[in-house]
């Protein structure tokens, strides 16, 4: 209990900064009145967090009972803080234009920035926690912060979305807690009472001695619980509305970060099962949920009229693919899954950046009202085209590489599973491309909704994160750094 | 050396002989119709007359119109060069085979059809359109005939086929008969004879070939008509050469053999031309859209000819 305090990192430990800066700035931003300053504080805090996360690449602090860094979470921490930073930059531009349009009051903005940092904190905590309980708390807290942000606009739709989100995720998170408890129960006879039986680093070493039957049961609850958060069909229902009704930067971090973190939690538990060896393999369950998500989302994409919901469903689709990959298991598919997680985060958040600007420019979220973006706003429009093509899985962007690996390796092993996978991907591809063509090409509407007051600075600011992300995705599609590959391969082995 | 001489003789023989054969067919038809008819040498006189006349060319015609007669005639002539008439010992024989022969006739037809369309009259287009429809069935039928011949004799070269048949490699086979029937049908279509086309008609409902060359006059017309005559000779040589090659001079044959071959060829042409005249007199022309049935029949006969070979072989 109090002994946990001894586990807190010291000042030379990057983890202190990674977790401390967001938490501290969340507190500070609550009291900061001037929103213009707050946007920049937000950016600076995120930048510091990102910079400290980069230090992890250099040396990793030793694991404590509370926090740890290993091959799996190191890249996710860097990715999370990176997207946190880019989204903060985008958010600065976005908020500036929103408040010009007078859609948000000062109080709301204060609240928004504070919650943004709090959300980052919970994400990073969930990733670095070496304790199943702490991780659970962090994910729950993430739900709470995002619920508040989703309902930020106080519109009828926003509140309904937040309500749905809250109820479904609370139930889900409750089930996840039960799963966590079950895992503790499985570990406790082997590890003894107390925090040892909840520490990832310790559990994984002795997982082979755990009660397999209990682990089976635990995994079902964890899967349904965290799976809700991942947005796997048929647990996905909160996701599209929550993405659609909140401010766009929040949609970006929901898709780019929250889903990843929930999946990360799920995968940690899968590692335990893999290390145990006697438990039922969770593969079929994951494959099933992956495919159902893929197909549901693919068909849903054809009937979407709202641009943000469209891409929210696309997130469901990709989470389905990733889950499928991990369900298949094996070195190639696991590698592909990890790669896909990364690429999806970067690409999807980039798409939401673009979507944010688009809906601000055009003054609508209706796909039918958006036309000819490449003609009316070339830089934005082509960036958007690039991003959507990337998410649709066209080379040379990164998503293609992971889809290539998943489909081809699955086909060599289980042709009957690969066929629906390929079909689902093709279906989703068709929907995305047809919408993309509608929005990006064609005759642009004659009268562009008047948001012309936006300064050039803020529009450049808004576009930079989009292009930075796309550049990364483009590079990653052709070249991955050796270290990252090594980490992926280690994790892929652990995932079984 | 004899091959070169044989070739040169062949080249000029076909051109020299062609009007006579056409004249003879006309004469036979006239007599059967109860007319006296013109001399079989009348076509030569017609040519001379046409060559002396100036050529009238429509304002809207392009150079294609003026080049087409020469190209058409040259292409048919070239095709005729490679069909052995009196000797198989020809230097150009390996340069083209039956497939190339079909294609060379295709060249002539292509240009004629283009010429028909060049002036921009409705008759020209009508003729070209019908001609191409006929060709689109006749050509495959002809190729199927080549296919079955190649299966029977192991070669597509006319000279080699004839050599094979002369060598006694073939007995009387069903497929050979089918191929002959198909070839005759194709020949009728290719030469624009009754029942497909009437070379003497200028009635718009029935014209095919004549509609395309309607605008020609003078030397152009002479060449176009000459090409038709050479084509007729060519087909006679082909049919008689393959299915009745007797008397044909082989490589190594002496002057007597060549003379014999020449005589045999003239005799065969005479018989075929008489038969053609007779046939054309007793039969009526078809409606345009019945052509498809006729030529489709030829195509199927060709196909059957190939397949029947297995029957003969299997037994």
């Amino acid at each position: 209990m109090m002994g946990h305090l001894a586990n807190f990192p010291g000042a030379d430990n990057p983890l202190l900064w990674i977790l401390g800066v967001p938490l501290g700035s969340a507190g500070f931003l609550v009291v900061l009145k001037e929103w213009r300053v707050a946007t920049w504080v937000n950016v600076v805090a995120s930048a510091i967090t990102f910079a400290s996360s980069l230090m992890l690449l250099d040396h990793r602090p030793a694991a404590t009972r509370l926090l740890f860094i290993d091959d799996f979470n190191v890249y996710l921490v860097v990715l999370t803080s990176f997207i946190g930073l880019t989204t903060a930059v985008f958010s600065a531009a976005y908020i500036a234009r929103e408040s010009e349009a007078q859609r948000l009051s000062d109080l709301h903005l204060r609240f928004y920035h504070s919650m943004y940092q709090a959300f980052l904190f919970t994400m990073l905590l969930a990733l670095t926690a070496n304790n199943t309980g702490v991780m659970w708390v962090a994910v729950e807290a993430a739900t709470l912060t995002t619920v508040l942000m989703v309902s930020l606009y106080r519109t009828r739709e926003a509140i309904e979305a937040a309500w749905k989100y809250f109820i479904l995720c609370s139930v889900g998170i409750g089930l996840a807690l039960f799963g966590t408890t079950l895992v503790y129960l499985a570990a406790q006879p082997v590890m003894g009472d107390g925090a040892d039986a909840m520490a990832w680093t310790l559990m994984i070493k002795r997982a082979h001695a755990f009660q397999p039957d209990l682990l089976n049961l635990a995994f079902v609850f964890v899967l349904v619980g965290y799976g809700t958060k991942v947005g796997l069909a048929p647990l996905h229902s909160w996701l599209p509305d929550a993405h659609a009704e909140g401010p766009t930067p929040i949609s970006a971090v929901l898709s780019g970060l929250l889903l990843n973190v929930a999946l990360y939690a799920l995968l940690r538990f899968k590692m335990l099962i893999a290390a145990n060896g006697q438990a039922l393999t969770p593969g079929p369950l994951l494959v099933m949920m992956g495919l159902s998500s893929l197909f549901l989302a693919a068909f849903m994409l054809y009937r979407r009229g709202d641009i943000k919901r469209l891409f929210a469903y696309s997130s469901i689709e990709h989470m389905g693919v990733i889950t499928f990959a991990f369900g298949m298991g094996g070195a190639l598919a696991n590698f592909a899954g990890l790669m896909h997680m990364t690429m999806h985060s970067l690409t999807k958040s980039a798409i939401f950046f673009a979507v944010g600007i688009i809906s601000q420019n055009e003054g609508t979220k209706r796909i039918a009202d958006i036309r000819g973006l490449t003609a009316s706003h070339p830089v934005l429009g082509w960036g958007f085209v690039l991003a959507v093509l990337a998410i649709a899985g066209l080379p040379p962007m990164g998503v293609f590489m992971s889809e290539f690996l998943v489909v081809s390796s699955t086909f060599a092993r289980q042709p009957l599973l690969a066929i629906p996978l390929a079909l689902g991907l093709l279906l989703a591809f068709g929907a995305l491309v047809s919408r993309l063509q509608m929005m990006a090409f064609g005759e642009p509407p004659k009268v562009v909704a008047s948001h012309g007051t936006a300064t050039t600075f803020s529009s450049i600011l808004a576009l930079t994160p989009l292009w930075v992300h796309m550049l990364l995705v483009l590079v990653a599609g052709l070249y991955l750094p050796k270290e990252l590959v090594a980490w992926f391969q280690v994790v892929a082995r652990l995932l079984g | 050396m004899t091959a070169i001489l044989g070739q040169i003789a062949q080249i000029f023989l076909v051109v020299a002989l062609a009007p006579l054969i056409t004249g003879w067919v006309r004469l036979v038809k006239s007599r059967l119709n109860g007319r006296i008819g013109a001399s079989p040498f009348q076509p030569y006189r017609d040519f001379y007359r046409l060559l002396q006349k100036e050529a009238v060319v429509a304002h809207s015609a392009s150079w294609v119109f003026r080049a087409a007669p020469y190209v058409t005639f040259a292409a048919v002539w070239l095709a005729a060069c490679i069909i052995p008439t009196f000797t198989t010992n020809m230097v150009l024989a390996p340069a083209a085979d039956l497939i190339a022969l079909v294609a060379l006739l295709g060249v002539a037809r292509f240009w004629t059809a283009l010429a028909g369309m060049d002036v921009g009259t409705s008759f020209g287009g009508l003729g070209a359109s019908r001609e191409m429809m006929i060709a689109s069935l006749a050509e495959p039928a002809m190729l199927m005939v080549s296919f079955s011949l190649s299966l029977i004799t192991g070669t597509t070269s006319p000279a080699q086929i004839i050599a094979f048949v002369l060598g006694g490699g073939v007995g009387i086979e069903v497929s050979l008969g089918l191929a002959l029937a198909a070839l005759i049908m194709v020949a009728i279509a290719e030469n624009g004879r009754i029942p497909i086309d009437n070379p003497a008609t200028h009635l718009e409902l029935t014209m095919v070939h004549e509609a395309m060359v309607l605008e020609y006059s003078g030397r152009h017309l002479a060449l176009m008509e000459g090409a038709g005559m050479v084509r007729l000779t060519l087909f006679m040589a082909l049919i008689s050469g393959i299915f009745a090659p007797w008397g044909m001079a082989q490589p190594g044959a002496g002057a007597l053999g060549v003379a014999l071959g020449l005589g045999a060829f003239l005799a065969k042409c005479f018989i075929l031309a008489t038969a053609l005249g007779f046939f054309e007199t007793v039969i009526a022309k078809m409606r345009v859209f019945r052509y498809a049935d006729f030529l489709g029949g030829a195509l199927l006969l060709g196909l059957l000819a190939t397949i029947f070979i297995y029957v003969s072989e299997a037994v």
Binding site: - | V57, A58, W63, A74, P94, Y310
Partner: protein
């Protein structure tokens, strides 16, 4: 390496194309650069082709799949296709120098053009599955953007959509195909795949998927539907490449998989390929005959020619599997020769279609006419192309068809009864397709270039920049050269074929240059060279005789027209009327052709109207059918978006209970 630098130059040109802005000269510079890069690549390919058969140097770049890097290699097959591709791209680039300001939005064309060239070349030199597919899809992507360059046009957009869907469908098929060949361990490099053994089912699936994947890109029936939509929608120099060159890259993929990577395809697949090829050829050309749009017509004609090539490939497979290596080599040489030829004349014809559109602004046959008088260069070059594509001697198209026929004629020597009976049928289909192609191009050329102008635009067609004319002239010259000296080409191609069939085979072996004498001298032979020379002499003799005996006088007058002497331009045969006999004979049931004649009432002076409606049944039943099914399911699924929270919870609850039950059941075992 020269090739590598040319490829990087293409990428750099794409960047320059983005920055080109509105200045036309910059666009011209990009095209000039493309032309130079293509020439370099062409030279590289030729240089390699000249060398003895064997594997070229491999290049490994640290990109692509991290644990195996990207492998590139230029072997004989890729060198041959590199020559084919870059012949077309050179011509199209040169054409583009003059043409680029005639496209609707040059800024949407110029940057993607070099990327397209890059993609096609990269496919050819890829030596592992990943890079192959990346380049393959990259090629599709670039061409999709090019199709979309006229994005304000609704038709172009839907064409682009269908195109990209089909391309991706093909990519997925190839992806799974490579996945099977690589095995679960992921041996994605081509050398590893060659060594990877396959059981019966895997082998079956590999061929099927390769056929679907490459076939959808090449335009085999029934996967051809995108082709006549997308090819015409792009700017003409791009259409030329898509039709003339990109489909060849697809065939390259097919050959690479079936003859090289897989290597032991069963003869039954050869039969299937031949059947598909035959059907594709006939249907393709029939569709072409019915078209009024010049570019659509050409696109359908591409479908036909792909069918012809695939017949050759199928035959080669059957021969190879039956141990007839020399005949396999012959069939493959024939197929490859036709690939070369088609890339040349189809590029030429599309470029000339571009020239016609530039000069008149019309692409409907019924608005053209008499262009030969206004555009003598283009007209002459197009005539050569039309003759070549109609497989008429002495041009190149005939040579390859002749070779295919020759190998087909040997087909019945195969031991399988299916082949003995099937080969003649395929032969008949091929013959039919060839003959119909001639009709098709008589119609196209006769109506567009001959006769009298059918519209003001056609009557006022203006001349073209010299770069456009020259690119066409060079291609036309190539058509003649490849037809006149075929042996030189077949000898080069047989180097390529040797590693694929395992036998060293020259088509000219028996009689020597310049005689094509497959199998033996008595089997039937052909010599374009001799034929041309004889034909020319006869032509000259003909002129000399005629002019010697007669007069050379010419009088210009009105057309006689059986004495009708009317001057109504519209009384000329139109595209529809020309096609009418063929339509009646071949198409009425096959395509659901409907002709409706509206006669005016007696006394009414209004003209009678004939409407012809052609339904592509494959499109209606297959493609629209799939669309309807997807729409139906999507409607049903979409209801899930509008449930209450309680029902969503119910779904969650049901999932949980279901999974618990699964665990309970599995634990009992």
């Amino acid at each position: 390496m020269l090739i590598a630098s040319a490829l990087s130059a293409l990428l750099a040109l794409a960047v320059f194309g983005v920055l080109a802005g509105g200045e036309m000269w910059r666009h011209r510079v990009v095209y000039l650069g493309c032309a130079i890069a293509s020439l370099v690549l062409l030279a590289g390919g030729l240089k390699h082709l000249g060398q003895t058969p064997g594997t070229g140097p491999a290049i490994v770049l640290p990109i692509g799949l991290p644990w195996m890097a990207a492998h590139f290699r230029l072997d004989n097959l890729s060198a041959l296709f590199m020559v084919i591709v870059n012949l077309g791209t050179t011509a199209a680039s040169v054409f583009g120098i003059g043409y680029c300001d005639h496209v609707p939005e040059p800024r949407r064309v110029t940057p993607f053009f070099p990327l397209f060239l890059f993609g096609m070349n990269a496919v050819l030199i890829s030596d592992d599955a990943f890079m192959f597919l990346v380049s393959w899809e990259f090629m599709s992507l670039a061409s999709w953007l090019l199709v979309l360059s006229d994005h304000r046009n609704e038709e172009s957009r839907s064409a682009a959509f269908v195109y990209l869907m089909m391309a991706t469908f093909g990519t997925f098929c190839l992806l799974t195909c490579f996945g099977l060949m690589a095995g679960a361990e992921g041996g994605y490099s081509f050398p590893a795949m060659r060594l990877h053994g396959m059981d019966g089912l895997t082998s079956f699936l590999v061929v099927l998927l390769a056929l679907l994947g490459a076939g959808s890109k090449a335009g085999l029936v029934p996967l051809h539907a995108w082709l006549p939509l997308a090819h015409p929608a792009a700017p003409s120099h791009v259409s030329a490449l898509m039709s003339g060159v990109m489909t060849k890259v697809a065939l390259y993929g097919l050959i690479r998989i079936l003859f090289d990577l897989h290597g032991h395809v069963a003869w039954g697949w050869g039969a299937v390929l031949m059947g598909i090829g035959g059907v594709t050829a006939v249907l393709g050309v029939l569709y072409a005959i019915l078209q009024d749009d010049l570019k659509k017509l050409l696109a359908y004609s591409t479908v036909e020619n792909i069918g012809v090539v695939v017949i050759g490939l199928g035959l080669a497979i059957a021969f190879k599997d039956s141990g007839e290596k020399a005949l396999a080599a012959l069939a493959l040489v024939a197929g490859l020769y036709h690939i070369i030829n088609h890339s040349i004349f189809k590029t030429l014809l599309f470029l000339s279609a571009g020239a016609v559109i530039t000069a008149t602004g019309e692409r409907s046959l019924n608005k053209l006419g008499g262009l030969l008088n206004r555009m003598p260069w283009t007209g002459a070059a197009t005539l050569v192309g039309a003759l070549a594509i109609s497989a008429l001697p002495p041009l190149n198209g005939f040579v390859s068809e002749w070779l295919i026929f020759q190998s087909l004629f040997k087909g019945p020597s195969l031991p399988h009864w299916a082949m003995k009976f099937g080969v003649p049928v395929v032969g008949a289909m091929l013959a039919l397709a060839a003959a119909l192609a001639a009709s098709c191009f008589v119609r196209a050329y006769g109506i567009a270039f001959l006769g009298r102008p059918r519209s003001q635009a056609a009557a006022e067609a203006h001349t073209l920049p010299f770069s456009m004319r020259w690119s066409m002239a060079v291609l036309a010259a190539l058509c003649i050269i490849l037809g006149a000296v075929p042996v030189t080409v077949t000898d080069a191609v047989s180097h390529v074929v040797q590693p694929l069939t395992g036998v060293s085979f020259a088509v000219s072996a028996d009689l020597g240059w310049p005689w094509l004498s497959p199998v033996s001298s008595t089997r039937g032979s052909y010599s374009g060279t001799v034929l041309v020379m004889t034909g020319l002499s006869l032509f000259v003799i003909c002129i000399v005789l005629v002019h010697g005996f007669g007069t050379t006088r010419v009088r210009r007058a009105d057309a006689w027209d059986c004495g009708h002497r009317e001057n109504i331009v519209n009384a000329q045969y139109s595209g529809e009327s020309f096609a009418q006999p063929l339509r009646r004979v071949f198409c009425s049931s096959l395509f659901g052709v409907k002709e409706t004649v509206t006669m005016p009432d007696p006394g009414d002076m209004a003209p009678a109207k004939l409407e012809v409606r052609v339904i592509d049944r494959i499109w209606v039943f297959l493609y629209l059918g799939i669309g309807r099914v997807v729409g139906f399911v999507a409607d049903r699924v979409n209801r899930m978006q509008f449930l209450t929270v309680r029902r969503y919870l119910l779904m969650m609850f049901a999932t949980l209970v279901f999974m618990l039950l699964v665990v309970a059941v599995r634990q009992q075992k």
